[in-house]
Amino acid sequence: MKRDSATDPFDLAVETGETPWALETRGMSVDYGAFRAVKDLTMGFEKRRVTAIIGPSGCGKSTALRAFNRMNDLIPGCRTEGQVLFHGADVYAPEVDPVKVRRWIGMVFQKPNPFPKSVRENILWGARINGYSGDEEELVEGSLRQAALWDEVKDKLDKSALALSGGQQQRLCIARAVAVKPEILLMDEPTSALDPISTSRIEDLLEELKSRYTIIIVTHNMQQAGRVSDRTAFMLLGDLVEYAPTKELFLNPKDGRTENYISGRFG
């Protein structure tokens, strides 16, 4: 894969770095003003696997996810400490431009938020601004196919993306994210605004996407975590309580709090 600069320290690290983890955090804490939302998080995410982060509302799971690609930088008063390593390079190092981080670590949000443009433009905009020089039609079709949306929208590529159904919009957002060819996809409760059928389509999609991308998904739906993820992390009040292969975590939790949560005793 060709990078756009051969001198940028972040690019150099990404270029040569082959780490056991696709993404790794070391002592990452996130503060909103005086409130510490994520406390000293140290964990790694396996390559080309789906990792789920579960926990009750307000446990800091979304905040942690948004810290991975420096999305929290956009929120005034939000501070991040510790390290987030992408191919061994700290995305929070002072010389790293967060724009570059987000280009490699894409994101899909809770509410489908396509651009108020045509379906085609939704795919192409991100690619163009990142200097994509290949064939545009190929990219549109390829990205939409990866998001299992091509057959549904191939005849309305020039129609407004806002005319699609909620589930289609969310898959378009996934297509838009993969169009810039990232390595990691962060998904922040991507199905919580969707009906059960759209939800299951996206869950099926994750299974295919993980052959190419490392996926980190935050969900408050434990069944979903059980269905789609390879590893699951359970967070509570900003702490990482337990992190294990999904089956193990659900069938044989080591921590009492995990057991209480997954058995529905709170949350």
Partner: protein, 424 residues
């Protein structure tokens, strides 16, 4: 019947700690609704009275006297029916030979346009003179009294119904007699002034709003700036006039008079009291309003839209340019319309900046002396003669029509943008 059953069925429920009060609550709601309706009616009545008083003055009967009875020139006094040759004959028969020679030297009478000849006959031969004007209400409701009054006071006068807004009024310049005066110079002055105002205040206002809303850190210094922009929006307009006088007319005189650009300075001596100064002063006046409105428009763009841009690796500028601006533009436009509408009607700051009181020439460039519609209205209303009040009313109508058509244009543009945004 059914209601009675419902009451019977529900009245017996509960433990008695809830007293029946629904009737009272609904009555209170009805009282408030009536008050709101009354307020709306009051507002509509006041607006109606405003429009009625303007229209009342802008149209009505006029008693006019003449030097030569038009009936002697044409049957029934209708000179429109005369042929070109007859018009020339009327001129030759009634004007002094010296005047005829002067006109002939300008352009021979036989070669002149018909409209030109008609105007000459009216102005030089018949010489209409307004002796009494009547309001629309008097003309319509009290025709008999008007007739009696005119017959008693001005037996020579002819009574005609006149619309003070007419083609001639729109195309003529200022004059010492009301019947000859028009609003063309003022209309052109207003349009040029507003054009300069929009051309400067709109880009600067949006740029400032983008910086304040998207780039500026939320620190003490910037909060101070923001609060003071709000304060500036409330400063009386005459203060802006003082500012414009100090900056544009005095300090920047070489620029605003055009001397710095080698433009031929106005021979009559504008000295910086130019359209450019007026436009820039009004731009200062509307700038805070445009900034505030644009800031609010940017703030209303949902965070999710910005995040979707950032998530594919866009820079801040790309997000602002490609997503925030298009999403906010219709609101920005609305805010600008409101601000510019206010500027069109401003009088006080322009008086201070030095609007001309009697301008018979159209402005030729932004370095010309200027007058505007509100200035003209102000001056005409201040005169003691009745007929100047009539042309002031006519100028108000012109100003209102201008303002409403500019607003309509902007609203149509905004709705188009909005529709585009929805179905792009």
């Amino acid at each position: 019947m059914n209601a009675g059953k419902f009451r019977a069925a529900t009245g017996a429920r509960g433990d008695g700690s809830f007293l029946p009060n629904l009737g009272k609550r609904q009555a209170a709601g009805r009282r408030w609704a009536a008050a709101f309706a009354a307020a709306t009616i009051a507002a509509v009545l006041v607006l109606g009275a405003l429009v009625a008083s303007i229209v009342n003055d802008a149209f009505g009967l006029v008693a006019m006297e003449y030097t030569v009875d038009p009936a002697t020139l044409a049957p029934g006094g209708d000179i429109e029916k005369l042929s070109d040759a007859e018009l020339v004959a009327a001129l030759e028969g009634n004007l002094k030979s010296r005047r005829l020679r002067a006109l002939g030297n300008e352009k021979p009478l036989a070669e002149r346009e018909r409209a030109d000849l008609l105007a000459l006959v009216e102005d030089e031969v018949i010489k209409w003179e307004v002796v009494e004007t009547f309001s629309l209400a008097e003309s319509l409701l009290g025709r008999a009294e008007v007739d009696a009054f005119v017959a008693a006071e001005h037996p020579q006068a002819k009574l005609v119904f006149r619309s003070w807004v007419n083609a001639r009024y729109l195309s003529a310049s200022q004059s010492a007699t009301a019947i000859d005066a028009g609003v063309r110079s003022a209309l052109i002055g207003t349009l040029m002034t507003i054009l300069i105002t929009v051309a400067t205040a709109f880009p600067i206002g949006i740029a400032a709003a983008i910086w304040l809303e998207e780039y500026a850190k939320d620190d003490k210094w910037n909060r101070f700036i923001r609060v003071n922009i709000y304060n500036l929006a409330g400063v009386p307009s005459i203060i802006y006039g003082m500012l414009g006088l100090a900056i544009f007319v005095r300090a920047l005189e070489p620029v605003t008079s055009g001397a710095a650009f080698g433009a031929a300075a106005d021979p009559t001596g504008a000295n910086g009291r130019t359209i450019l100064s007026a436009g820039l002063t009004l731009a200062l006046l509307v700038l805070p309003v445009i900034i505030i409105n644009a800031q609010e428009a940017f703030r209303a763009v949902p965070r999710t839209l910005r995040e979707s841009g950032y998530a594919v690796g866009a820079t801040k500028w790309q997000v602002v340019w490609h997503h925030v601006l298009p999403a906010a533009f219709d609101r920005v436009l609305t805010g600008t319309i409101v601000a510019v509408s206010r500027a069109i009607g401003e009088t006080a700051p322009l008086v201070v900046v030095g609007a001309s009181t009697f301008l018979t020439q159209d402005p030729t460039s932004v370095f010309s002396k200027f007058t505007t519609l509100p200035i003209q209205i102000y001056q005409w209303t201040a005169r003691p003669q009745e007929d100047f009040h009539n042309i002031a009313a006519a100028a108000i109508l012109v100003l209102l029509v201008l303002m409403l058509s500019l607003n309509a244009f902007a609203i149509i543009l905004r709705n188009r943008l909005r529709a585009k945004k929805r179905f792009a």
